[in-house]
Symmetry: C2
Subunit: 120 residues, 2 copies
DNA sequence: TGAATATATGAGCAATTATTCATATATTGT
DNA sequence: ACAATATATGAATAATTGCTCATATATTCA
């Protein structure tokens, strides 16, 4: 048989139709997934957490997280490309900061989730 | 030379010390990254979005997203293992629903982020 | 201009992962 | 018990990715 999709009987057609209302379309899903993916790595989570209250330069971040300069810079680029952080240049030093309050909120919600689950 | 970490001069030692306050430790970072990672895939994003207002069974979800039953089940397991969704069994049918309001909030924040960025 | 410093980036590798395929488990009805 | 149905899952594979290494770009200072 071929790689059938859901060949099974439609169980709840009314609900499926209703779900169309909230279902995000594939392009939006891709962008949303990419945004969450930016926070889906322990190193990037720590970078964001370090920037919660203040801006820091690449070398600060590398020292703080015990990373190489290269690894830090690579990860920061990902965060910047997805508009989670913004940069400010001062001479040769580049300061990174969270882009806006949305990011802080999103991050906090995530923290609440893991505190709410897996251990009290 | 060896794979040096941040061998460069400490630029802002005071800020680095301050950042220790908000810096999440590696275990928490791993758990937080895992939580965000659950939403870091377009298929899982669409599954969550379909469950915003109501519960749906596996076959409903597969049909709605045009996925195979197997792929749907695999992805739902990831969401369930991370406590983003919960299940209710009724005979052979397993209904999936969002675990709590936190998830809805987290998802909404993500949506706001992508709407705020990349296009007006 | 040339050396030093701070950051950025391309290539490569090891590790992770989303899907498919085949099959297992669980429930219902005959 | 047996067939049918709904879901779950292990193995395999192609694609993605985080880090390292080497090197490039940019800025400051002498």
């Amino acid at each position: 048989m071929d790689a059938a999709l859901c060949e099974v009987t439609f169980i709840h057609e009314d609900r499926v139709q209703a779900a169309q209302q909230t279902l995000v379309d594939p392009p939006a899903a891709a962008r949303l997934a990419a945004a969450f993916d930016a926070l889906a790595d322990p190193t990037r989570v720590r970078l964001i957490s370090a920037l919660i209250d203040q801006e820091l330069c690449v070398c600060d971040l590398a020292a703080l997280l015990n990373l190489t300069q290269s690894a830090t810079s690579h990860q920061l680029r990902i965060l910047r490309n997805l508009n989670l952080v913004r940069t400010r240049k001062e001479g040769r030093i580049v300061f990174y900061a969270l882009d806006d309050q949305h990011i802080r909120d999103l991050f906090q919600r995530g923290l609440e989730h893991i505190r709410h689950n897996s251990q009290g």
